[in-house]
Subunit: 111 residues, 2 copies
DNA sequence: CTGATCGTCAACCAATCGGTTGAATATGCC
DNA sequence: GGCATATTCAACCGATTGGTTGACGATCAG
């Protein structure tokens, strides 16, 4: 039986999924719109979203025929607490986070 | 080409490896001693340590015939920064971390 | 009703993972 | 030298992962 942390960290261990989370940080999105910038099938992105949902990192709500995806940042709290215990990192540094998004987001190459 | 965060989060997604990190939080250890509490072969633990080392989460230094494993908490900084950006979690909470260790460490059943 | 759009499901595939065992390589001890 | 200790390597195994494709069920528009 996989621990909750297992599932959360495994969900974060994929660049596609981290990129999806970063996208959802800006706004809720429909599945199709989430999938649009990725060079993979809709089904593949749908699987990623399912995994993120099972990890509790996002929630999905179907309205009409479109399914909206919403970031659930609280799910990261457990994992964050676990990690911070090791480093006693300085308090939240949003600038560093912005730099990370900059380096992570363009990871999808144009062909 | 796996991103650095890929490797770090993947390394954290396994309870054995998280438990190893928690053990090393207390002190540096030899490979054999790390392996002792686990119900798996030494080779398996050695593989886990290799993975943690490749992720930069630990360093290994051979002195004589014993290889010492040392926690490298700085490697968690990148991942922690990434995560904190999502939740704006409150500053480091060591008490919560201690509770986590309590719930995680006894996850290995006695036979 | 018809047709297009939204999303998932099912089956498949290659690659990776977590584990095993047995042999191999250092190194230390006497 | 010779044996024990510490650790890794190599080959193997079953399960999981990340992706594909094609069919399918809902829902909306005309």
């Amino acid at each position: 039986m996989a621990d909750r942390l297992d599932i959360i960290f495994a969900a974060l261990a994929d660049p596609t999924r981290r990129r999806i989370l970063a996208m959802l940080l800006e706004d809720d999105m429909a599945v199709t719109d989430v999938a649009e910038p990725f060079e993979m099938s809709l089904a593949a992105v749908s699987k990623h979203l399912g995994l993120l949902s099972r990890a509790g990192l996002i929630s999905q709500e179907k309205r009409g025929r479109v399914k909206w995806c919403k970031l659930e940042p609280d799910a990261l709290r457990d994992a964050s607490v676990w990690m911070q215990g090791f480093g006693q990192f300085e308090p939240v540094n949003l600038d560093a986070f912005e730099r990370f998004l900059d380096t992570e987001l363009p990871s999808q190459k144009d062909p």
